[in-house]
Symmetry: C2
Subunit: 176 residues, 2 copies
Amino acid sequence: MPAIEPDAIDDDVHFCAVALFASQFRMQVIMTEHSLWRFSRALQRAINERQFEDIEAVIDEDVDWAIYGPIEMFPFFGARRGRVAVIDVIRQIADHVRVRRFERESVLLGADSAASMLRFSLTVHGSNKPISLRVAHFAQFKAGRLLSIKVVVDTFDLVEQVIGQPIHLPRMTSYA
Amino acid sequence: MPAIEPDAIDDDVHFCAVALFASQFRMQVIMTEHSLWRFSRALQRAINERQFEDIEAVIDEDVDWAIYGPIEMFPFFGARRGRVAVIDVIRQIADHVRVRRFERESVLLGADSAASMLRFSLTVHGSNKPISLRVAHFAQFKAGRLLSIKVVVDTFDLVEQVIGQPIHLPRMTSYA
């Protein structure tokens, strides 16, 4: 039997470590649901059923929140900081709209981050006016809770749908 | 020397395969730049220097392209299909604006996909009017070439900046 060379031991240890890492990684992928899905369900429940317990549980106390758009028309757009302010703004959204359905057109997941592009079908409370909305969001999570989210909306399309008529626009070249 | 058991061989083969995979994966991470960075540099060069060779080389022949927004004002918004149509629309963008700088606020990379949220500082040709633009994109690549990209822009903010005055908006509640 040949003597065991130190290099061979190192290789074995390395192989074991890699195999263990691969196995643990696979287990984690199988067993842990991404924070995005839990947050998404809780947000929908908050907006449509006015149930805020689930969403409170998945929002970090120091959350950073922003939906970019004209706040004079949509007071629930803009930046918010902290769980209390964010729950308050979600209540305001729930006061105005209901989510009929949404389609996730693209999604990218990191370990503690997520980005998706979605199309929402909403109705405005009172008028039952249907609104179709394209949204892109980038979210970061910490220990399963939302730490930061930034939302970009095709706001011109949204404004036109809410006022119910097209806004006349000249071609950009008129301003060049 | 004990007889080698079949299970032990399988384990060794498995360990070798995992180690080889891990090693190849690491090498690929070290050696291969993500397609997003090459595409991003080529796009900037096309818009600012009107050099279209680099961008042609990183766009798939059957590319799917969409920038959502009001096409009556911005004729280079909307959907395009195929490399020729996409190069043509990039030429139109280059005819209208120059990228002064951009900041990538968030980025998520998959193996053949990427999403980012960016803030662009642009100037409009002719007037030299500065425009600040928030953009989210989702891109897919195949063999290093752009296969699909969807871009969401905060379009209302963009329209107001280009016309150079605020559009009066009522609060959404007026329409409920």
